[in-house]
Symmetry: C2
Subunit: 140 residues, 2 copies
Amino acid sequence: MTPSPTQANSSELATLVVRASERVKSDFARAVAVFDFPPPLARAVLLLDQPAQMGCLATQMSCDQSYITRLADDLVKRGLATRAPGADRRVQVLTLTPAGEDLKAKLATAVSRESSVVNALTATQQSELSVLLSGIVNAP
Amino acid sequence: MTPSPTQANSSELATLVVRASERVKSDFARAVAVFDFPPPLARAVLLLDQPAQMGCLATQMSCDQSYITRLADDLVKRGLATRAPGADRRVQVLTLTPAGEDLKAKLATAVSRESSVVNALTATQQSELSVLLSGIVNAP
DNA sequence: TATTGTTATACTCTATAACTATA
DNA sequence: TATAGTTATAGAGTATAACAATA
């Protein structure tokens, strides 16, 4: 069966997305390498917009809680976040320290600066991309 | 210094891209898991549009040549590709077998089917996204 | 001597399973 | 008994370094 035009375009788009994803990853790694900072930790820092409980972070990063425990250990060890029990005392809440907030801002700037996503697109295109990516991220 | 609106938007876009990239990766893994096929191998197969020398694949996947050697071993072992010396006899050229081409088509379809990028966006949005992603992938 | 690929090894990222503490 | 997190361990993915063959 010959693929329909839509199928063909979808395949190409899927391939494009894979390639763009590779690009995003290498841009990201290059950006955070300047801070001598492992990419997964950088991702966690950037996700900590507000204090978050560990299970929540695990959901956001779509990874296992045990891995968040590791990342949290590392963040605390570096003085970038604190761990404190929540109202439900089984819960641990991660909060960025001032140093963590500071680093987060620097990481965000560096990631943005190194990002082909940002550099290769006009402001208008970036807005469009933002809308499209929101659709993807918020997909069921 | 308060970040300019542009800086703030760029940071948000960078974060969005990271999240979308995570989404793409998990979609991709889910899609190829059906074939009991490791994601990196699937990526390699999808990149083999034409016969390619190994160094070229390494560049496309932005990874080390030694890793391509591994992937190639695996592809050949599975009967999905052949390795043959090029005109320059230092070079090895990877070519998909008919079975490899067949699997590539199936992978492309599955990746497309599982892709939030495809499912969450209209055809028009997909076209727009394609243009934007091309800009990223072809960035210097 | 420079380039292409291979081999052996080691490191990073992440999951699984068993466990502890609180609910 | 169910849920949040931790610990120990194991596996996948990928790089580094030393090497071989060809140019």
